[in-house]
Symmetry: C2
Subunit: 195 residues, 2 copies
């Protein structure tokens, strides 16, 4: 691991913990045991650091989504796979997920980070297409509000980055199991339909 990668990892931790704007270059430098000016030997700017964190992460994640969409599985299987891939991302790249969740809105106001809005739209496309296919092929309830269901899934999955800790008591597959079950079948006992 190069010194540059070390510094980037330190920055990722701080950005995820305190937010991008609330993390100063002095915070990063202190955590690395150097002076703030020395960071600029390795990176152009503070913005470059987040950029280098987010771009490769998103490339990897959306590559996996694309593979799922391209598979020949049925809608329910693909939906489950997308959920599992997302929890896997939280497990493997918790800092990057947290940064994207917490700071995408703010970063998106800068030209340089215009791609964040594109990725957001792309994500929406993935989930909406899966939900629509599920309704069309009869594996999901036909009365679902697709947009609302999309938001429900998106929020439920990604917000887990706030409490999930890799290496803790629960594996990401454990969490995904439970979430998929609740999402698909609910928390009420079956057949106890009050609606």
């Amino acid at each position: 691991m190069s010194r540059r990668e070390q510094l980037l990892a330190i920055a990722a931790t701080l950005f995820a913990e305190k937010g991008f704007r609330n993390t100063t270059v002095r915070d990063i430098a202190d955590a690395a045991g150097i002076l703030s000016g020395s960071l600029y030997h390795h990176f152009d700017s503070k913005e470059s650091m987040v950029d280098e964190l987010l771009v490769p992460f998103q490339d990897e994640l959306f590559g996996k989504y694309d593979a799922i969409l391209a598979s020949g599985d049925d809608a329910r299987t693909k939906l489950e796979a997308a959920v599992r891939v997302s929890f896997e991302a939280i497990d493997q790249h918790p800092h990057e997920v947290a940064i994207f969740q917490n700071d995408a809105d703010h970063l998106g106001t800068f030209e340089r980070f215009g791609y964040l809005a594109d990725r957001n739209a792309q994500s929406r496309q993935v989930w909406v297409s899966l939900i629509e296919e599920g309704v069309r092929t009869g594996v999901l309830r036909p009365d679902l509000d697709v947009t609302l269901t999309y938001r429900f899934i998106r929020d439920t999955v990604w917000v887990a980055v706030r409490w999930y800790r890799p290496g803790g008591g629960l594996s990401h597959t454990d969490v995904a199991d439970q979430y998929v079950r609740i999402l698909l079948d609910g928390i009420a006992i079956e057949g106890n339909d009050h609606g």
Copy 2:
């Protein structure tokens, strides 16, 4: 509406939009059409402003939770009521909810805002007790992981403040209807249990 209340409303909007720390006293003053120093005629500090926003809001919300817990209804009805009251809070006090969601962690590091952690624990108590009662009385699935289910509900409900807009196409009761339905019965067609 007193000048003081006007200024507080302006601050609430900005805190909710940009976060507490990323909102400067000059931002607030500019939006109000005065100079930043003039704010200190009305308020002691920037912290006092958030404080005055969060405390009354939380008093009101937890009063409603307490009333639900004290009612004689069955667990499913109480759980539904708690979800609906939460969406109502998002509808009526979107700024306060957003501030609490986005800045509670950061504010909580200051002594002055220690009550935020207490409220968080209290909220957990409300949801966990309802879920446990639901499992005990047989209206919820006995294999539920109570803690995970609590997080699922909490996150799902409150994160809606990120996209829900009062006065938009959907009322808060519409949203609550859909969320309760998904939460309790899932999105899959009934009886199509793959688990």
